[in-house]
Every structure is written in C-alpha cells, then in structure tokens.
C-alpha cells in the first residue's frame, strides 16, 4: 500500500510540476499584462500542488528523500506524468486548450480525491481543488473567446485540438498500483473521471464550433516512464543547478 501510494503520488506530482514548468515559460511573454499575471499564477498553484505531492511521496520512500530530490534528481524514464503535460508550450491557443483539458481533469480528480480514505491525500485534494476551479473558469472562458471570435483565433484553436486530442485518453490510464488504491478507496475511480470529463468536454467543444479529429496516434507511456523527446530538454533545463553543483544548499 505504502509503495503503491508513493508511486501514485509521484504520478500526481510529476503531472503538476511539468504543467507548471511549461506555463512558467510564459512569464514576461504573455499577450496581455493581465494574462501574464494569470498564467504565472496558475503555474505557481500547480508547482505548489507538485510540492505537496512530492513531500508525501518522499516521506514514504525508504530511506526518505526530499521533494527537491524527487523533482531535480530523477531522469526522464523515472517521471510518471502523462505525455500531454510535457508537450511544448506552443502558441496561446495550444497552451489554453491544453490547460482546459487538464483543468477539467483536475477538477473531477480532486473532487473525488477529497473523499479519499487517506486523510493527507484528501486534505491536499481539497486545497488543490479550490484553486483548480479558478483555473478552469479562466481556461474555459478563453477557449470560448478564441473559438467564437476571429477566423485566425478559431483556426489556431482548431489546430491545437487536432494536435492535442489524442493525448487526452492517457490522462485516465491506470496501472495495477492505482487500481489497488482505487479498490481501497484511496485513489479515485479513473473510469468515472473519464466519463465526467467526456460529458463536460465534448459538448463544450461542440458549443465552441470545434471539430474533434477522427484519427491520430493515441498517446501512452507516461505511467511506464516512456516519454516524448521534449521531457529530456525540460529536465535538462530545470535540473541544471542541482546536477552541476551536487549536494549544495540553495
């Protein structure tokens, strides 16, 4: 159980950190000053979630390690995030749609996790869930704004949808450890989250006048540590200092 939970919290932490790290790349480069602030705010929340999950994961390891050890001293094959969170930031439409998919997922994930039999996990989920509501309100409003405005914006968000859609099923993948945690009432049931996600996202895409792509490569692999080429570069940048100056305090 301890080992299962340690693995699962890593999945949660890695997902939040890679999302937050990508969003942080927008700092100083957003389309509006207000959006610059909003994007970094969401990034900050996500990295905060990652920090809490890493602390849980680290405390359960033998011997215990710190949150920073887990974030900065693991290689790409040890990361457990779904591939969608490590994809490059792309343009504002791509960032917005990716964020919307993740925000809807996080909303149902943390809602369900808030009733976990594991107290600490439930507490973290309650705190994260509060913040995710605001993230979703923002990304949903922007999806609508981009879809129902100019031809250029619509073309860009449609392109983002074509590029991202088949990365979404991986969000709901589970492994044996997660299934055991779900059976024990610790982790949420991912099949339910998938249903909720589809019931919210698909009609919304239709409302936005966007067309779901019919075929493409369906992403998978994150749970087994199989990643895109992008993650290595992200980690090289993010982990540079602790790797170059091992054992130092910062």
């Amino acid at each position: 159980m301890q080992k299962d939970l340690s693995q699962y919290t890593l999945r949660l932490a890695d997902s939040a950190l890679t999302m937050g790290q990508r969003l942080a790349e927008w700092c100083g480069h957003g389309p509006y000053l207000e959006e610059d602030v909003a994007l970094t705010n969401v990034s900050l929340d996500l990295i905060g979630h990652a920090h809490m999950f890493y602390q849980m994961a680290g405390a359960m390891q033998e011997p215990a390690v710190t949150a920073d050890d887990l974030a900065f001293l693991r290689d790409a094959h040890e990361y457990r995030n779904p591939l969608i969170t490590e994809l490059p930031r792309g343009d504002f439409a791509y960032t917005t749609l990716k964020q919307y998919f993740i925000d809807v997922f996080n909303l149902y994930l943390y809602q369900a996790m808030a009733t976990s039999t594991h107290e600490e996990l439930a507490a973290v989920a309650k705190k994260a869930g509060m913040e995710v509501k605001y993230h979703l309100a923002r990304s949903e409003a922007w999806c609508e704004r981009l879809s129902l405005s100019t031809d250029e914006a619509k073309a860009r968000i449609q392109q983002a949808l074509d590029d991202l859609w088949f990365y979404t099923p991986e969000l709901f993948e589970t492994d044996a450890a997660m299934q055991r945690l779900t059976a024990a009432g610790v982790a949420p049931d991912y099949a339910t989250i998938q249903q909720q996600w589809q019931q919210r996202v698909e009609p919304f895409m239709a409302l936005c006048g966007l067309t779901l792509p019919q075929a493409g490569w369906v992403a998978t692999g994150g749970l087994q540590g199989e990643h895109t080429e992008h993650l290595g570069f992200m980690l090289a940048e993010m982990q540079f200092l602790p790797r170059a100056y091992p054992g130092c305090e910062w």
Binding site: A24, C27, Y32, L33
Partner: protein, 326 residues
Amino acid sequence: MYSQGLTDAKGQAEPEELMAEFQAKIDREEKIEPRDWMPEAYRKTLIRQMSQHAHSEIVGQLPEGNWITRAPTLKRKMILLAKVQDEAGHGLYIYSATETLGVTRDQLTDELLTGKAKYSSIFNYPTPSWADIGAIGWLVDGAAIMNQVPLCRASYGPYARSMIRICKEESFHQRQGYEIMTVLARGSQAQKDMAQRALNRFWWPALMMFGPSDKDSTHSAQSMQWKIKRFTNDDLRQKFIDATVPQAEHLGLTVPDPDLQWNETTGHYDHGEIDWHEFMQVIKGNGPCNKERMQARINAHEAGAWVREAAQVFQQNQAKSNSEAA
C-alpha cells in the same frame, strides 16, 4: 514666480493665480488628485516618470524570468514566480495610475515598444547565473526601495497610493534576494564565487539606478519643488551605499570599489567615481541587453496581437447578441 517659463499644452503661459494656488496646496502637503487643476509641465513630468517606472517593472520581468525555469529548488521556483508576478502587478497599478493623467496604456506601450519611452537601465544587464537573482533582489530592489519610499509621499495622489503597496512588496523582494545571497555566501566555494561575481556585476549598475549626479540632473529642481521628488539623486545613492556596504561585509563579499572607505568625519562611505560614460551608453540603447529586452517585448506584443483582437471581437459579438436579446 512659480510659473516662470512654464507653458500649458497650447504653449500659453500657465495662469499665475492657479499656479500659486497649486504650489500652496503642495506646500501644505495636500495631494493633487486627477480632477484637480495642474500645470501641463507637472502632468508631463508625472507621465514621463510614472510610465518609465511602469515600463521598468514590465521589462524587469525578463532578467529574472530568465531563471524561473532553472530555479534550483521548488521553493525558490515558487518564490521567484511570485516575485516576478508581483513586478507585473506593479506595472499594472502604475499604468492604471498613469491613465488618470489622460493617457492610455496602449499609448504608453506603444511608446515603450518604439523606443520613445525609457525604462530603468539596470534591466539591460544580463543575469547569467543564479546568484544574479539574489543580487537583483538585494541590490536592485534595495535601490528601488530607496527611490520609492519617498514616492509614497509624492504630491500626486494616485502615484503615492500605488507606491505604498509596491514598497511593501519590494521590501519582501529585497529580503528574499539577500537571503539567496546569504545561502550562497555560506555555501561551497563555487557558490561563494558565484555570489561574488554577481555582486561585481550589479554593484555599479545598481548605483547608477539613482540617476545622474545632482550637478547633471535636469529634472531634479522642479520635481523637488513639486514634491514628486523628496531627496536628490546623490543623497539617495549615498543612503543606499551606507546601508548596503555593511550587508556585503556581513556576507563576506567584497564590494568592487577599491576607493570605498568609511569616512569618520562625514559619517558616510566615500566611494569611487561612477562610470557615467557607461550609464549614458546604456541609456542610449548600447547596453549589453537593450536590444534583446526590447525584442522580447516586441515579440510578445506581436505574437499576442491575434489574441487581443480575438478578445475584442468576442466582446463585441457578445454585446451585439445581448442587445439583440434585449
């Protein structure tokens, strides 16, 4: 006469009675508010100074933003994100305060991007190492506080009020910068060296942040009379040096000025001559990062044009459908 040489927007001499009343109000330490009468030159001075300040906050995101993705711990990453976000927020308040003087943010942004308006020259220096993030917090935000605390009492109400909140946040930024330096200075030899190099890099540019020496400062006398400015450039610079040198000593770092020494008689530190040629060069656009910084802002603005247009069109469509429904 207060009105000596001052003309209004149409080039007419400002009415002496209004000028006298205006100055008397300032002398009574009452705030000038957006609807109050003010001489055109006061308005212009404020627009110039406040927009430069706002632009500095915005361009200032870049050298620090440079290290967000490489911050060495999760805590440092979160603090830096929050800090840079604060700077963007300061930009927002000050742009809003400047708008009360009758200009729009779009106009001001345009002036920045076309090179017509200036921003603090400090942000044209590079941040090649993590220690530079510490040095910026400690020295650059430290110098900014020296400049800005007196602005909390500036005669123009909206500017003074925005400064109160900004100064609170800046003082937190300064402490976090000093804390980064403290950890580095107590760390490995490589970390100490990193900290020393950052101090070497930012010491002189930080001193230049107070502007030209009093004898060469063109805007000072009038701004002092209008209580937009309360202390001279050299006074503030000296205050900064006196406060900062002991902090460097506490860290075990060496201030890169061989002429620096305590003067018992004056009760201040004497310091070496500032390289004003370098200062003028950076202001003219010939600093190490002027082109990069400006290009980054232009790129963000241009890449975001379709987003701003989409938001505007969406809003118009919404308004139209609302009025049709009504």
